[in-house]
């Protein structure tokens, strides 16, 4: 059996080329895609998250690892789908209406993908209606809302209200994060989870799902 420790290391060090090469070979050798993801790639991203949390890794290393993970995952995803394997959950991420910043949202998306979630990136300046549509039309089980500015964070509350009005609030968990966001604010608007950092989004999602 192929030694897959180098796949773990390639993701950990952000070596996208090696991660893809090992993944291609492993798939050609008949290794189950789910094994690659669950036993090697997700633990690698979990370690990336751990290092990020304790300031061994910083944003550059996190982005690089996320890109390596994404590249390998793109090779695996069609086979996962064909095999009927289900992601942990489907998450729609987006920066709220009026806010055009995306790096925090992108980091969260990378970490969630690394955590086994299927991620739909709704982009920036996402209206409450678009978040509602992500639940209704794309089957998002979690919404992850990002805001950088104090002036745009009220759009999170507007989005919560829109989910309620559309009658979909009970079928989706809502996570919030971003520079001005606090646990207190998350509680005030009735969000299901909050994370101080991108790496913490994975455990926040898991906790919200129960």
């Amino acid at each position: 059996m192929q030694d897959l420790k180098p796949l773990h290391n390639a993701i950990l060090t952000g070596d996208a080329k090696t991660a893809k090469a090992i993944t291609e070979k492993a798939l050609a050798d008949g290794i189950e895609p789910i094994i690659l993801v669950q036993d090697h790639m997700m633990p690698a991203m979990a370690e990336v998250g751990r290092r990020f949390e304790c300031n061994e890794y910083f944003v550059p290393e996190l982005l690089l690892a996320g890109r390596a993970m994404k590249g390998a995952l793109e090779l695996i995803r069609p086979r996962l789908t064909a095999s009927g394997a289900k992601p942990t959950a489907r998450v729609a991420v987006g920066t709220v209406k009026g806010d055009l910043h995306d790096i925090g949202k992108n980091l969260v998306a990378a970490m969630l993908e690394g955590g086994g979630y299927e991620v739909i990136d709704l982009g920036v300046n996402v209206t409450p209606e678009q978040f509602v549509a992500a639940v209704k039309e794309k089957g998002a089980q979690i919404l992850a809302l990002s805001a950088l500015l104090t002036t745009t964070m009220p759009a999170m509350k507007t989005t919560m209200d829109a989910l309620q009005s559309a009658g979909v609030r009970q079928q989706v968990k809502v996570l919030v994060g971003g520079a001005p966001i606090t646990q207190k604010y998350a509680d005030e608007i009735g969000a299901d989870g909050f994370s101080e950092s991108a790496a913490g989004a994975v455990s926040a999602a898991k906790k919200a799902l129960g």
Binding site: V59, L64, D99, I103, L149, T150, P180, E196
Partner: protein, 400 residues
Amino acid sequence: MSMFDTKGQAGGQNGRKPNTLKKLERLNRALSHQEPDRVPISDFFWGGFTRRWQQELGLPPDANPYYHYDLDWIVTVPNMDPWIRPFETVKETPEEVVVKTGFGSILHKHFEFPMPEMRGWETDSFEKLERAKFDDPADSRRFFAGGDNQIAGVGDGFQRNTPPWIETVKSLRPDFPVYGSIIEVSECLTRLIGQQNAMLWMAEEPERMGAIINRIGQFYFETAKAEMVAGKGLLDGFVIWGDVAYKKSTFMSPKYWREYFKPWVAKITDHAHANGLPVIYHGCGNVKAIFQDYIDMRVDAYNPLEAKAGMDVIELRRQFGHGIGFCGNSDIQVWETGDHEAIRREVLRKLNAARGGGYIFQSDHSVSSAVSGRTYDYIVKLVRDFGNYPIELGEFNERL
């Protein structure tokens, strides 16, 4: 109307008013950690705030917070674009505009939204970045000619044909202590290649990227030197704009920052000091991991000390004493509530940091359109009422 478009009302008047000299003395004493007559106060105002403030206070459309409140200092921005050229309009409607700037960035400005969106970059590969050759850092147009420039033109507002920097400096000088300013490498990279590419390329090619950072650092060092020559005898201090952190920590490792970014901040700081100019460094986010470095570089004051990133001026004073001045840290999120009791607590508590000088009162970033005009009016009154030396804050007195 935007953050850096205040032009002086002094017209052709020469010389400085006694009140301006008094403000300058106030500011300089504070930066020298001596107690002036009262705590200096100023801020950076979003255009959206200024409009709201004018309406709420029934002020005329040309009313300006710097003049209305006789604030204690103001900062000016020359043309810092790598390539000096007019904006190229990609799309324009009454609601939004898309332009390509002198940083080669494609910027989308929706007039309803506070900040622009970067949609793309002319310098979109590492190889292009390595080959990029900027215009002359000392090109006189940066200081003496009007025209488009990204820093002044596309931010919280949108402005074409910014007036010549030197004219702005001269027009403000009779009424305010006037600071020049320069961006450092991090701010350039964000505009030149986007923050995500900047981070990725630092991780992919740390040493090659380091060489680029050094080249850009040298460029802005030369621009800063040229600005100090252009503004000789007219400037009272210098601001270095350089965001290198976010809520949790520095973007890049402190080690990488120390190796490639810090030396250029140090060089600009030393050069400003050699020209008799105090330095205020503006950097958002949580910079606790590198705060001692700014003290080591002899930066005179740190701004804005974002409360939402866990920066607290009282804790910093306890930790670092009077090794550095502080400028800012009053929590804008509290200001935005409009709750006078909460604002009073916030403002008076932070004024403890002004004991022994070394503190300029400002928000912890800039005054946003979510702050009401009446709230800001109340805050200035609080600072003026309680910021007289010796500082006496009653129930809010804290031992440092």
